[in-house]
Symmetry: C2
Subunit: 135 residues, 2 copies
DNA sequence: CTACATGCAAATGCTTTGCAACCTA
DNA sequence: TAGGTTGCAAAGCATTTGCATGTAG
């Protein structure tokens, strides 16, 4: 797998992947940087970015196509949906099944050749919801 | 409307809104800048950004919550879905009705208080599709 | 040993902001 | 005329990249 692409399993790459797999959240590159730095203090943010791209190419993780200004990464490479907190920007999985028939609806109606879709829910996470009700 | 918010209808604001309403596409701030500059050559990009925000607040247009690195604006302030071309990044409307019952599916399954959702289709626009088949 | 990877820092691209001059109501 | 608005330039922030050095295989 690595060999085919002439890639090496460096310490940095190993730790980034391992830490990402431990999380159930969907961190940004900077958040991953913060976590990995506890194990490899001299790692650079550039290395984190580069390795996240490599891991995406290898199919180990996925880069999320979500709204919002930060790119987020997901240890789960399978297609699924997400919920974002409007207030704190936390992103969780949305536990509903993929809507496979959705793209058929568009089939006749658009001039585009449809490849896929992203569905993202917007809401308030429990923490922010609580703060909202009792400010 | 403007008076309540202590806002003024300046030439810049008027032209930005007028040009946006003429388009059926969903331009980025920079694209709007390019168009408006034909009418007001000395307008600055900062002014375009500031006015787009104001027009969003007034409910005249909407800022789209899409994936991708550029913010895009829509002359149509009503909720609807979009299709993005993977190749050239062109964004069109997706002519399918809002899925109002979608959020109910999540209701019991998530700890989030759901507020709304974004649905974005990914595909190839006719131009890029043609180039793809006959490279 | 020989590429691929890394750390560092500089560069990039989009967006936001501070400020003095300007204009709308 | 008051205060919102503009143009300009500088700052901000996330992400990318060039390059000499380091290291996995």
């Amino acid at each position: 797998m690595l060999k085919e692409k002439n890639l090496r399993m460096t310490k940095q790459r190993k730790v980034i992947l391992a830490e990402l797999k431990k999380l159930k959240t969907h961190p940004s590159a900077d958040e991953i940087y913060g976590i990995v730095r506890e194990h490899i203090p001299r790692i650079s943010l550039g290395t984190v970015y580069r390795n996240l791209e490599v891991l995406v190419e290898l199919g180990e993780i996925q880069k999320l196509d979500l709204s919002g200004s930060l790119k987020r990464f997901d240890w789960n490479p399978n297609k699924h949906y997400h919920v974002r907190c409007v207030h704190c920007d936390r992103v969780d999985d949305a536990p509903i099944a993929p809507l496979n028939q959705l793209e058929n609806e568009l089939y006749e109606a658009t001039v585009f050749e449809i490849i896929g879709h992203n569905l993202e829910f917007i809401g308030l996470c429990p923490d922010c919801s609580r703060k909202n009700h009792h400010p």
